[in-house]
Structure formats: C-alpha cells, structure tokens
Symmetry: C2
Subunit: 341 residues, 2 copies
C-alpha cells in the first residue's frame, strides 16, 4: 500500500531518477519516446509527486491560508465566510492549490497560527479578513515577509495589497434611497466598532445623513449576532424619536430587527423600513423580503486568492478595487408613515 515514487518508475523504465523527473515535468533532456514510456508507467502505477519532497527543493507549499477569527457559534450564520471560501476555492482549484483553514478566538492566536504556518512552510501566503484599525497582524506579516492580501480597505492594510470595495459609496446609495422615499430619521445598527470597515461605514453614514440634511441618529454597535441586533433594535424603536428606517450591518441582525418590529406591532415596511448590508438567501426567504446591499463575495475571494499566489510567485502586487455593493430594493423599504411618530 506504499505510494509509488519516481525511483519505482525509474526502475521499471530502466532509466535514472533524473530522467524520470525531466520526463514528468515536461522539461527537455529526454527523448519524446522515453518521455512517453515514462509517463505511461507513471500513469499505470498511479504516481503522484510527493508535495513534501517537492517543497523541500524550494517549490511553494501549494497552499494558502485563511484564519477566521470570530467565535464559532456566530460563524455558522454568517453566509459571508462560506461564500468567501467558495470563491477562494474556485481560484485555487484551477491551480490545484489547497486552502488551509483555521478558526481561532483572537488576534494573538491568529498571529501564532500565521507564524507557525509560515515557519513550517505550510503555506505560500495568506488572506487576512476582518481588519481592525491598527491591526496587529499587518506589521507581523510585513516583518515575516509573508505574502498576504487583505480583504478590506487599504487605509488599514499598511503595505499589504488590499481587495476592497467602496463601502462609503454603498452607504450613500442606501441613504439616498431612503431619503428619496421620504425618510428623515434613519438609524443604523452596526457591527463591532473595532472593525475597520465598521468605522468606515459609520463615517459614511454620518456624512451621508448630513449631506442630505437628515437628522442625526444613534448608531448602536453589535457583535453581529441576532440577540445583539434585537436588543439594539428594541432600544431604537422604544426611543422618543423613533426612526422610520434602520440600516443593518449584516443579514442576521436585520432579520432580528424584523422580528422585533413585528413583536412591537410595527408593520414592515409601512411603519419601519429595513435595509440589510449583505445580501443572502436569508433576505429573500423572509416576509417581507429584505432590501439589501448585494456584492459578489466569491469574486472578491477569488481575486484575493489570485493576488496571494502572484505575490508568492514574487510578483509586485498592488491592491484591487472591487465594484461597490449595489442596492437591491425589495419589500422591506417603503415611504415612511404619513404621521411620523
């Protein structure tokens, strides 16, 4: 049950190991006839190059890494990651590259994983997600000289190339949509304040409100969970100056918000409009279907994976801007009630 090696092939073909290597790698140095014979034997005995041996001689690891740093129980409901992963896979599969995945609890643990992977030669590079302001991972990557691509805004990625989309523009589109419907009091239920893109959206939200002359509004931050989203929504809807529209940072908090509205006997969209940031099948399955910001997450993942590989190959890489998320209006947004509360 031992795996066949090139030595086995060489013996059967009556040539040297070197000749087999040349033949199987399509390099000159053997006659076409010998090459064909060797390839036939390799095929027959089911030979595969041993990655370890290949890696030892200086080739890449043939794998890139992704460390996900959110608590496990929040991960499941976030379609984002699975979509991202499937996009990365698409790109990697084409080059028969592998993805190493690890779920950790915090930044220190994540950095330890990167150090280990890089030190052990397990990965050729990594993709970083969920960047914080002054993210400690960035300088570590820079110091290690480890190929790394950030999915997130370049303002937080230091010298690392970033794959990003214009979140401020997307936010503007949302607020303009709501303003056009007649809303004047718009609130926002945000993600964790520590995330760089939360801060960007926060700023864009405030600016957009000001630009359109809407009222300033509270922006409670959550940990992206349904419970937190429900709590934030309940508080917003109980306040004296109740908003007529709420923009959520992800689909699960938006869903929770929808439920809370129903609990409080508010009709969506008649009494309250709801917008979810990431679109997903969830948004379409509930009633009313949620107006959401759609973006092609798998495409971003694929792009990032491609960049990492090119970076690992020694190319000089600069970031890529993806198209901004686009608003997909559905049943959860409508003009505010006549008698504003």
């Amino acid at each position: 049950m031992k795996r066949p090696t090139i030595a086995d092939i060489a013996r059967r073909a009556g040539v040297s190991k070197g000749a087999v290597s040349y033949a199987l790698n399509g390099r000159p140095g053997v006659s076409e006839e010998t090459r064909a014979r060797i390839q036939a034997i390799a095929q027959e005995i089911g030979w595969r190059p041993n990655v370890a041996a290949r890696l030892l001689t200086g080739a890449g690891a043939g794998a890139i890494g992704l460390v996900v740093c959110r608590p496990a129980r929040f991960l499941g409901v976030e379609p984002f990651f699975m979509e991202l992963i499937s996009g990365i896979e698409d790109e990697l599969a084409a080059r028969s590259c592998a993805l190493m995945l690890q779920v950790v609890a915090g930044h220190e643990a994540e950095i330890a994983v990167h150090r280990r992977w890089w030190g052990e030669g397990r990965v050729d590079g990594v993709i970083l997600v969920d960047l914080h302001a002054d993210d400690p991972r960035v300088p570590v990557m820079e110091r290690l000289g480890m190929p790394a691509v950030v999915i997130g805004h370049p303002s937080a990625s230091g010298s690392l190339p970033a794959v990003w989309s214009d979140e401020a523009a997307a936010m503007r589109e949302v607020i303009e949509h709501l303003a056009a419907l007649g809303h004047r009091r718009v609130a926002r239920v945000a993600g964790p304040a520590a995330l760089a893109h939360t801060a960007i959206r926060d700023a864009a939200f405030t600016e957009s409100l000001a630009a359109l002359g809407l009222e300033e509004a509270a922006v409670p931050h959550t940990d992206y969970t349904g419970e937190a989203g429900a709590r934030a929504t309940r508080r917003l809807l109980s306040s004296r100056a109740r908003p007529t529209a709420i923009v959520y940072d992800n689909d699960i908090t938006a869903l929770a918000g929808l439920s809370v509205a129903r609990e409080m006997r508010l009709e969506v969209p008649a009494d309250l409009s709801i917008v979810a940031w990431d679109d997903s099948p969830l948004c379409q399955v509930v009633r009313p279907p949620l107006t959401a910001l759609t973006r092609d997450i798998p495409a971003s993942g694929a792009r990032a994976a491609g960049l990492v590989l090119r970076m690992a190959a020694g190319e000089e890489i600069s970031g890529v801007e993806d198209p901004a998320a686009r608003l997909r209006p559905r049943g959860s947004t409508a003009p505010p009630p006549r008698t504003a509360p």
Copy 2:
C-alpha cells in the same frame, strides 16, 4: 528572510545537526545542559520544524482533509458546515494539526481531490460528509487504505468508522410531540432524496406516523434551499387535506415555510405548527421562534477529527454514536386549530 533550519542552530551552538535534532525532540542522547542551550537558540531565532522535511522522514502530514460537495450558493446559509468545521478545528488545534478544505461540485471531483491529497501525502486522513446510499467514495477510501471517518449512519459507511446519531429516534420524538399536541395530519419537507440520512428520516417519519396512528402524509424532497422549501410548503398548504404541522429537514427551508404560511394568512403556530431539524441562531431570531431539533454539531466534528487522527496513527477504530438530537420546543408548535381544515 530565510527560515532558520537546524543546521543554523547547530552552527551557532557549535554542535552537530544530529545533536540538535535529539535536543529539540526531547530524545536521549544529549546532556541536559546542551539541550537547554540548543532550545534557547531555537527559541531565539524562531525556529520551526519544516513540515516537508519532517513529512519526508515518514511522519504524518499533520493535516486532515474535508471536502464539501454542495453548490457554493447553498453552502453559505447552512450553519451546519461552519459549526462542523469549528468543531473539527477545536480537536485539531490541540494537536497543532491543520485542516485542508475543498469545495467541489460532485462526487467524481471529490474523489479526485481525495486521490490527489493522498497521493501527494498532503493529508493523514479525511472526514466524509453527506453520504449517499451506495456512496462511491466509500469503496475508494477502502481501496486506497486512506484513513477516513464518515459523519453519518453506519449503514452507508461500509467498513469505515462512522460518527452518527440516531435520527430515527429524533424523528420519533418530533412526531410524538406533535401527536401529543393533537396533530393528526403532519407533513414533512425533506432534503435531497439521494442523501442517506434523508432516507433514514423518511423511513422513520413514515413509521412514526403509523405507530401513532396519524394520517399518511406527503414528503416532498428539496435541495435544502429556501426557494425549494417555499415551493414545497406552498403546495402542501394548498392541498385539500392541508397539514396542521410540517417538519423541515433544515432551518432555511423551515424559515421559508414560515414565510409562506404568513403569505397565505395562516398563523404560526395557531393554524400551522413548524419544526426545524437543525437548530441555529436563525431559529431563535425569527417570530415566532422555531421549535427545533438541537444537536451538538461541533462535538460531532471534533469526535470525527479525533477518530481520523487515531486511525492515521494506526489504531483500529470503530464508530461512535453521538447522543440523538433533542427537541427544543419553542413558539412555532402548538395544538392544531379546533376546526381542522
């Protein structure tokens, strides 16, 4: 920026490579003093054993594989996989083992991936999920002599060890719950018919109905998507003999069913009771919260990962039965309407 090797350590410590190897692996052959000195140097220059070199000498790959074979766009909304993965990680992280993940489109592609991984020595073993009846992957694993653990019922796993739970018992619990509430016409919206566990649930469903003297009911199969779940629900609720309760095979179809009921002006749970198979934050975030079958998916993943590692170490392994899923009654189940439709 080159990674340090034991040769570097040996040079700095003024000893041979062999001594360094002994010292760092805690094997006898060096004095405690030398060992301490060598370990200090290794620590200082940030040495890590190169996996490739280690692998070459016959050690394991230090990684196990998981191939997921569902279309990417359905994956995101299935909390199941992320929970499973995080459970696997828990077990692997303790042994600083890695997880290789690949998403593929079909069984042939999956088998090709396993062949490649095994042939290249990339993984020590794999975990198989979503078994079909007469699954083609099982004989391949057996033939390759590749350590593999199945998450699913042993009836489909051939000679491979399985991590499974008693789905029939869980189904009985659901039906008994509904029967106790007074339901007589219970339907079921199932997953793909090809999956082994769908067949098991189908059979258990029919048997449980018969055992409790309930009416026979239709069991439409879906691909686990919200759209399919909505379609199936719409048909069930439009039929002459409308069911007063529906059991769904996953949370996303259950959610879709809830929305359809609302569309058709049926109150949940007053007019229709709903049970979801897998519990997830989704079930708790909607109104009414969904009665669901809870099981500890991360624990199953961890158990499977542990078995694979022990199998890879040469141990003789037999399967493990997890506790059956338990019913968690919430607001979506209640007695049927007095005037049964």
